[in-house]
Symmetry: C2
Subunit: 341 residues, 2 copies
DNA sequence: TATCTCTACTGAACCGGTTCAGAGAACTCT
DNA sequence: AGAGTTCTCTGAACCGGTTCAGTAGAGATA
């Protein structure tokens, strides 16, 4: 049926071992023989059997990704699909596959990694959504699974990080709003247990104080539309209502914008809004959203590259991707001279 | 290091074969011996080696999904992440893994399946985004990969289908709008090369004629926000402008709604709008979107179940999931008595 | 010419399971 | 008691590669 290395050996009149050496470009066969073996293999249409290779070489030729999200909310995050697509662009070139696990809870997440390890499904994993004091670092260290993290965690990590600075974009958003005359700029952030939730809040805070402004109201939300709405409600109800709100992602910003408009506030005349991600929809909102384009495709591609080179024995070194730049659209405008209250 | 079946055999004082029979619940060992072997295996902490199992049993214990989308637009589709999460809920229970491939082009898609087959990475695949006259059916048949399709293709297919009727929801949307007095109801559909693009258009068309109305303008778009905008532009520019538009998904509806509002049209006073999917954001728009909730989580779960039972040798039978029901929100309202033109 | 070294290659073990043919033992049937 | 059947278990082959120890032969060296 299928052509094995044995068939090639027989047809070429050599031993199994010689064929293996020849096919893997290893020393041990003369150039003549090597060439003959390769030709015979080609003629017979030999294809390596991944399963056999996996067993004897103790490698999976696959990398893993465990996504810990509420499945119902997973669809709202534009990050993952594009990120995964980015990973794929690298993997296909190296004959690797991606094994994806979705975990609904923290226990399921840990179990996901444990299963990947127990079954040796993967040779390494990519860690996304890094958390402050992330338990996965110790877990993967104990499971002896090589990994790459998105951004460098604050706690010590033996794994190389692929970093994309998000503070610059947020700072640019603050500066942009300040230049438009805003002084009361609120922030609706993601969970502060995530390092990207935290870094965006700190970026906002630092940029405000650098502008000589008091960092106004901050609400910790959860990156969902529902959370964005709730946070916006709270911000707009406060006595010193902000004239601009910086959201930690587009989804919350969109929900916030819609809510503000439903209250009769004009965006940007009464309230300026910025997001983060630059989802496709951002351009097509009314008004189109000022936001910061994350580049999940690039991030995924480079993260996979780093993981593969780590698996290849390369030293673990952090990589820095270019910081995304603020994209100004119509959801931001001059601060109202007489804010509605 | 790791405990193998050999260690268990030695410790239990039986042969390798006996251990294999005992661990797999197969006949060939007495109850006493079986129990002893199981106890010894437990005591030694034996875990099956998936790679060895794969090689000897010629199974991958994994299923595949090839997603053919423009990576940049993939993030905008809320369907996939939730669908994948649904698949996972089934797979984890059966010790199966999901191998995901993202393909940017038609060639890459075919190559994706070919690679999964060549490396025997998976035991079966799930086909989504079924197209009219879908070439993948012949491809997978020739590659001898079992599959499950989402909805039954119009051309003959040997694979079981997991069906979720979308015509009922679209018909309900038409009826809902008709009951509100609308007579000019347009449709912005997905590519008609997709069966779900086609079936939604036909559902709209049939419901219109059933209501005694002339099926108004139809524009074929591409499920993206950009496409939704372009189609809306065209519809609103037409001489007999519709007072209501049924979009084939939420993303296009959202873009359409924003665009209409940017023209100064009020939704729903001047224009009623419906979507399809019921994304999280739909609830939080201004106005919230009337739409039809697809249930990708359920769909994924059942599709994976069907695939696994197919792999287990069950006969290929179609499954029908409950048809999603229209969710009425504020983006639809009475037809304007004097439509703006 | 005898010895040493190096290269090219073979045969077998190995990775960790599954599966099959066959050997004994026990049990049933006549 | 002898023959046939069933049950339990063993040993070995097998899945398709990788890798290692060892050998034959060619070429270099003394």
């Amino acid at each position: 049926m299928t052509v094995t290395i044995n068939d090639v050996a027989q047809a070429a009149g050599v031993s199994k071992g010689a064929v293996s050496y020849a096919l893997n470009g290893q020393p041990g066969v003369s150039d003549d023989t090597r060439e003959r073996i390769l030709r015979v293999a080609r003629e017979l249409g030999w294809k390596p059997n991944l399963r056999a290779k996996s067993l004897s070489s103790a490698k999976a030729f696959a990398v893993g990704l465990v996504v810990a999200r509420d499945p119902r909310l997973l669809g709202t995050d534009p990050f993952f699909p594009a990120f995964i697509a980015g990973i794929e662009t690298t993997l296909v070139e190296h004959e690797y596959a991606l094994v994806l696990t979705v975990a609904a809870s923290a226990e399921a997440e840990e179990l996901g990694y444990r299963k990947l390890a127990a079954d040796s499904r993967v040779d390494g994993v990519i860690l996304t959504d890094m958390r402050v004091d992330d338990s996965r670092i110790a877990l993967l260290t104990s499971l002896k699974i090589p990994a790459v993290t998105l951004n460098r965690p604050e706690t010590p990590s033996p794994f190389p990080a692929v970093c994309m600075d998000d503070t610059e974009g947020i700072a640019a958003a603050v500066e942009h709003l300040v230049s438009l005359g805003h002084t009361r700029i609120g922030h609706v952030g993601g969970p502060q247990s995530y390092i990207h939730g935290r870094s965006r809040r700190l970026a906002w805070q630092n940029a405000m104080s650098k502008a000589g402004l008091e960092a106004g109201s901050f609400i910790e939300a959860d990156f969902t539309a529902a959370g964005g709405l709730a946070a916006t409600t709270e911000l707009l109800r406060s006595p010193k209502r902000p004239t601009a709100i910086i959201y930690a992602n587009d989804l919350m910003a969109t929900a916030g914008q819609s809510y503000a408009q439903s209250l009769g506030l004009a965006v940007p005349d009464d309230l300026s809004i910025t997001g983060y991600d630059d989802t496709e929809l951002a351009t097509y909102l009314n008004p189109p959203l000022t936001t910061v384009p994350a580049d999940p495709l690039l991030w995924g591609r480079v993260a996979a590259q780093q993981l593969l080179s780590l698996l290849g024995g390369a030293p673990a070194e952090d990589v820095y991707l270019p910081s995304p730049k603020l994209v100004v659209r119509a959801s931001t405008g001059p601060a109202p001279s007489m804010p509605k209250n």
